[in-house]
């Protein structure tokens, strides 16, 4: 049972400034990272009616959230070069464990569970060797890190489990970073971004496709998969000038741009998130720098709409697609919406 104290006091014991939303609710269906007005970073849990159910302060700024298939737990992963991931028991809810990255590794902000929920996979950086890795964790053993796999690239960002449940797609952003110089991009002139496919069973590198040669400064970063099996990729451009920012890919083929360089101009070189809206058959792309939310048809790739939305970034997946903004809006872009007294951070998940 959720207690009022759990709502007012974060997991680390620090008071959080959201008493006005502290109504106890037991059902959680939306989770997103956020920043409160006092600068504290937290994770917010929201009920199906978009009311705040709980929030917990995080040891450092969070990025994305992975929910276990059974819906009983979630992991909030720190953004790069963070070294912590917080495990939430969603039945209570409360933070039950804080994972720390292995020596010489930091988290990249994304992760996912295996289909059976027995393993958790996190994108990580072997920073001294500038190698992107997937850290593999045994969930039943208290998230013990059992091994790691190379992703065949640098600056690994998002990784996701594909529908066959045996393959993961991994976006290697191509950008080298090192904790000695936090968040500095160390290799922009020589970056080589790619999407890799790995076996979930043993980490075997099955396939790698690089960004188009004409756009060497593209960083492929965020992923979704449509029902026909195609992987869609949202990119960021690390140079001036126009570049295509949304691609679609099937293994064995080249990356196919969905939005041309010209059509991507309003996204200001930056896609923040990408998600499949199953109900409308569209892929939704956000650009906080362009203040744009773009809907693309999953079959033709045609642009259905482009909506102005200030600082929009988080895009969920599935039958109930929600988007979140830096000025506190959580919305389905149709009729349901609620504004919170905090900034929603880059990603959110609906389950």
């Amino acid at each position: 049972m959720l207690r009022r104290r759990d709502l007012l006091i974060g997991a680390t014991g620090a008071a959080l400034p959201f008493a006005s939303y502290a109504t106890a609710r037991s059902t959680v269906s939306v989770i997103g990272c956020c920043r409160f007005t006092n600068g504290a970073y937290a994770v917010a849990l929201v009920d199906p009616l978009l009311r705040l159910a709980a929030a917990f302060e995080l040891p450092e700024r969070g990025h994305a959230i992975a929910v276990a298939p059974a819906g009983d737990k979630a992991v909030v992963i720190a953004r790069r070069p963070g070294r912590t991931a917080s495990v939430i028991d969603l039945r209570e809810p409360r933070i039950v464990a804080t994972l720390h990255s292995a020596a010489g590794r930091h988290f990249f902000g994304h992760g996912f569970f295996s289909a059976d929920g027995e393993r958790f996979f996190a994108t990580e950086n072997d920073y001294d060797n500038a190698v992107g890795t997937i850290g593999v964790y045994d969930v039943a053993a208290g998230f013990r890190r059992t091994t790691e796999w190379s992703t065949g690239g640098v600056g690994t960002h998002e990784a996701m489990l594909l529908r066959d449940q045996r393959t993961m797609a991994v976006a290697n952003g191509g950008i080298e970073t090192h904790p000695d110089f936090p968040r500095e991009k160390l290799n922009l002139a020589s970056m080589r971004s790619s999407v890799a496919y790995l076996s979930v069973d043993n980490g075997e590198l099955l396939d790698v496709v690089e960004r188009p040669a004409a756009f060497p400064s593209l960083s492929l970063r965020h992923l979704t998969q449509t029902n026909d099996g195609a992987v869609w990729i949202g990119a960021q451009h690390e140079d001036t000038g126009p570049a295509p920012l949304v691609f679609r890919h099937r293994r064995g083929e080249a990356l196919a741009p969905v939005l041309s360089a010209e059509a991507s101009a309003e996204l200001k070189g930056y896609v923040g998130d990408i998600g499949l809206d199953s109900r409308t058959g569209t892929v939704v792309v956000s650009s906080p720098r362009g203040n744009r939310l773009v809907h693309l048809d999953v079959v033709s790739g045609a642009q259905i709409s482009s909506v102005a939305l200030n600082d929009v970034c988080g895009v969920s997946e599935g039958d109930r697609l929600l988007v979140s903004t830096g000025d506190g809006l959580l919305s389905d872009v149709r009729r349901e919406q609620r504004r919170f007294d905090f900034s929603w951070d880059n990603h959110l998940v609906v389950f």
């Binding site: 936090p182 002139a189 000038g241 070189g269 720098r289 000025d327």
Partner: protein
């Protein structure tokens, strides 16, 4: 209240409000000022690069100690000239990785140095022309590479006497001249700041450009405090790694940072103050106060000796710790307080996404 009194009160209030508000075109004037000043700084940088190029040419023609000393002296001027423009990573300098081509840093693991040593050992390096460098690693192209070729240890200096190091210094300095000249030309041809900052051809709106200028200044101060100083000096002199700072080999780290801070203080001085609403001018004053504190410390550090020795010295190490405080405060003024005072939207996800 009589009608006459009401009118008088309203008129007085309106006068007060008008007196408090900055003139409507002060933002345009400030952006035009920044555009002109940055253009002047790029002009100076390109001219200094050409002077350096001439000195390297003379050194390669006649590899004497005197010519080496002159070339090194010119490099000091180049470091300060770069310091004046290095705060801005937007516009023509961001195109085609020109910023990295001019000054690739941080160079984690010293890949530039490694590649230079390999090239010096390679007799084919004699054939390298400036334009060939464009296709090579940026670590070989800019000022840190030239610094190594001019200030490296004795065996490398010996290479000047007719060997490959000079054959590399010449194309590197030629290439710095080419890139700095391109940046200067593109900046001038943009016509104004909004167009210079454009990514897709459409000029930025006035307030977007203003916000970008403040953010760039703030980011530069963050880089000075957190990356150039804090990362290099560690928690104490014994834990310091002075060599990872930019221009550590030539000992010009503080010189370059000082030139940068001096430029920021100038750009965000009187002209900027005029942009601020009267009730926020204290924040502009506070920024100047912090920058003065920074400069006073940097001035002492510049005169305290070689960068490597300064970092290892207990007292100067403490000064390097201290100088980060006003730097960070100035960064917060530029990145948070002043944009808020100017009503510039500070988007959370757009500003620092991933």
């Amino acid at each position: 209240m009589t009608r006459a009194l009401r009118i008088s009160v309203v008129t007085t209030l309106a006068s007060v409000l008008i007196a408090c508000a900055p003139p409507p075109d002060s933002r345009d004037e400030f952006l035009a000022f920044v555009y002109r000043e940055v253009g002047g700084a790029y002009e100076h940088f390109a001219a200094t690069a050409a002077t350096q190029q001439a000195a390297i040419g003379a050194l390669c023609e006649s590899p004497t100690d005197a010519n080496l000393a002159t070339a090194r002296e010119r490099f000091v001027g180049l470091a300060r000239a770069w310091g004046r423009v290095e705060w801005l990573r937007l516009g023509p300098v961001a195109h085609d990785h020109r910023y990295d081509r001019l000054f690739y840093w941080p160079d984690r693991g010293g890949r530039g140095r490694r590649q230079l040593i390999e090239l010096i050992a390679d007799t084919d390096a004699r054939a390298i022309e400036a334009t060939d460098l464009k296709e090579k690693s940026v670590a070989l192209q800019g000022m840190p590479a030239l610094e190594y070729l001019l200030f490296a240890d004795e065996p490398t200096q010996a290479a000047y006497r007719g060997q490959n190091a000079c054959a590399l210094a010449k194309p590197v300095s030629d290439w710095i001249t080419v890139v700095s000249s391109d940046v200067r030309s593109d900046w001038q041809s943009a016509g104004d700041l909004q167009q210079a900052f454009s990514r897709s051809g459409d000029p930025l709106e006035r307030d977007q450009a203003l916000a970008a200028v403040l953010e760039a200044g703030s980011a530069a101060l963050r880089s000075h405090a957190d990356l150039k100083i804090k990362a290099a000096i560690g928690t104490n002199p014994a834990a310091a790694r002075p060599g990872i700072a930019p221009l550590a080999l030539s000992g010009l780290t503080i010189e370059m940072i000082d030139a940068s801070v001096q430029e920021l203080a100038r750009l965000f001085g009187m002209q900027f103050q005029a942009v601020l609403p009267e009730d926020s001018r204290y924040a502009g004053d506070a920024l100047q106060r912090e920058l003065r504190l920074v400069r006073a410390q940097l001035d002492t550090l510049r005169n305290a000796g070689d960068w490597q020795a300064v970092v290892r010295d207990e007292q100067q190490h403490g000064r390097l710790v201290y100088v980060q405080i006003p730097m960070t405060s100035a960064r917060q003024q530029l990145g948070e307080t002043l944009p808020a005072a100017l009503g510039l939207a500070q988007s959370f996800n757009a500003a620092d996404g991933d």
